[in-house]
Symmetry: C2
Subunit: 385 residues, 2 copies
């Protein structure tokens, strides 16, 4: 019998039934009070999630990469210098985006799986000041959460703007736009918020708005000033026809997210992350990457001797309909990843671990049946105490 696949990857994350219903409901027309109230509601909640009173939050129809490009277009001119600490696939996307627009990119290269060292970045910025530092909070390719608060501080000290990709982290791990002095933060609908992909957001602070006035990179569809103008109408609008159905779903997703409050959502993400990590360790597998206690979005796992990581992903998907994420770049074949963010429950984790046990046993890895489930149960029960 055909069943929907069970997604435990790095996003899109599972979509709650309430969200599916909202995006399957008749569409609000995108000019007028109906859509205006949806957009207003979504914007207000996102501001809470970003922890900002000062920034504008702009909603764009695109994937997260489009939002990243919007920052390059709106804040910079060819020849501007930016610093990009490279420690994975998505940091490298910043580098490629910046270079596509004629920016000069300076960087320190870290081995994938490493955390970026704020002191090293501080030294580099002292030696050679730049216009901005481009950061990635959740480096999804390695599962590592980068130390944005410290990195933002050293960037500020060096007079550089701070632009952060929070696509796969916003809502899953702590983030403070105002408190940490962030200038731009780019997010997406399809990660910790568990809406469908199609809407990306840009939180834009005062210093970034100032930068837009001199930035000469060409832009039109992603021009922030145009978005701000339409969002300021009595019934907020998008300048272009937006992905209305996705926006309706995003509104429902944010309502669900806020039911228990932001703190509860973060605590849940931490617990699920611990459950996955203890479960995987109980199967004798090694975790990958630094700062495992902080990474509440995606866990990277070294493949055992018995099987290549790509084979594990292919087999568990074929046999049990569970979608895990294979390794990217230099980690291809060596690492696979389990996503545990968004609309994921303890039982979702337990069934995923059970499927992993059966898959690994079939692939010849020595498995004590039930061991990973038992370990994760231990984490979840302890959390209830």
């Amino acid at each position: 019998m055909d069943r929907p696949e069970i997604i435990l990857a790095h996003g899109p994350t599972p979509i709650p039934p309430e969200v599916l219903l909202a995006q399957g409901s008749p569409l609000a027309y995108h000019r007028g009070p109906g859509f205006g109230s949806i957009m207003g509601d979504v914007t207000d909640r996102l501001k809470q999630l970003y922890r900002t009173d000062s920034a504008d939050v702009l909603l764009m129809t695109s994937s997260g990469t489009g939002a990243l490009e919007s920052a390059i277009q709106n804040c910079f001119s060819p020849g501007d210098e930016v610093f990009v600490p490279l420690a994975g696939f998505f940091a490298d996307r910043w580098r490629r985006l910046a270079q596509a627009y004629g920016l000069t990119v300076r960087s320190i290269e870290y081995e994938w799986g490493r955390r970026i060292d704020p002191d090293e970045v501080a030294r580099a910025l002292r030696e050679h000041p730049v216009n901005a530092v481009l950061l990635t909070q959740s480096e999804t390719s390695t599962g590592v959460i980068q130390p944005i608060e410290s990195l933002a501080r050293v960037a500020k000290d060096a007079g550089a703007m701070v632009v952060v990709d929070v696509v796969s982290s916003l809502g899953a791990v702590p983030f403070e736009f105002d408190g940490w002095g962030i200038d731009v933060a780019l997010g997406g609908s399809q990660k910790a918020l568990s809406a469908s992909p199609g809407i990306a957001f840009a939180a834009v602070g005062a210093r970034a708005w100032e930068a837009t006035t001199t930035a000469s990179n060409p832009r039109f569809y992603f021009d922030w000033a145009t978005y701000r103008k339409y969002a300021s109408l009595p019934d907020p609008e998008n300048p272009w026809t937006p992905a209305i159905s996705v926006m309706q779903g995003l509104q429902a997703a944010l309502r669900l997210y806020f039911q228990d409050g932001v703190e509860a959502a973060l605590t849940r993400h931490r617990m699920l992350s611990r459950g996955v990590k203890e479960g995987v360790r109980a199967l004798g597998l090694d975790l990958f990457g630094e700062g495992l206690d902080d990474n509440w979005t995606v866990t990277a796992i070294r493949a055992p001797e018995a099987a290549d990581a790509d084979t594990i992903c292919a087999r568990i998907r074929r046999d049990y309909g569970v979608v895990l994420a294979p390794g990217q770049g230099p980690l291809k074949g060596a690492v696979f990843r389990i996503g545990h963010f968004g609309y994921v429950s303890e039982l979702d984790i337990l069934r995923g671990l059970a499927a992993l046990e059966m898959t690994l046993e079939k692939l010849g890895h020595p498995v004590k049946r039930g061991a990973s489930v038992a370990a994760a149960e231990g984490v979840f029960l302890e959390a209830e105490m």
Copy 2:
């Protein structure tokens, strides 16, 4: 009682229940066979709709404006010269987009509502050759369908590439990518196809691909070569996480569209257009724009003495939940527009006309009750003979 609004505007158009269900169904994961088969199916049908065997059709998560920008980014370099015949709001969008990327724009200005004269364009191109001509098939702001076949011929004769905005025309009026020698045509999900907004498409022919190899405009999210690479995988993909739910809906919408075949869909659009026009005339209102027999997407109507066009739109929406489109630019207040494309039936038109009758009567315009309904019924009955 709250009911969904009845959309008879210039898009998004009404969404069929089958499409709502598809976009409200659990999401196919965007890497792998499930989504691959959806993307393959959508691409194949769009090629049929574009009437092309030769072009690639690329699917991007954005509104139509993003697709237009993708053409400017991928085909041109700063300083390139383009010709844009200006006859409405969306032709002017081409001008603004081209100028945002440093292109030199040459143009002839027409009064809004006029059809572009291919002979005049031919003369202008002979006097001053350009790299490309940027056209808009359905100038939604005026309802006018521009003569793309003739315009493409004179552009070709002058050695210029032909880039066409078919966002609001593809599927509603005849279009021949291969037959007319088009190089690029940009469409959207939310118009004649009646899917939700969020997916835009670019049909890209051989000459345009050639142009991309030298075009130096910066691009990343909308880089066509990247889309082609991912679309060529055994299970076709998008490079970035696409609006999966909208794509699922688009697949359902295309299935519905093709149920009766493309010819039947075009015939239906012509009939609905005639019904609206006869109905409106029977109320003593004047139609606006040239080439009324050909414009099967949106009909522009001059407001009567009794009421401003914006007032008519506001009142019919408030009292009956019917969304018509107000006038844009120089036509604001003077003209309102009825959209009659996409998932619209004869009865949708009749109830819309009835609501218009009651609205106009309340606003003081002399109305013979039932007259517009009777006139449209005449068109529809005749079509069944």
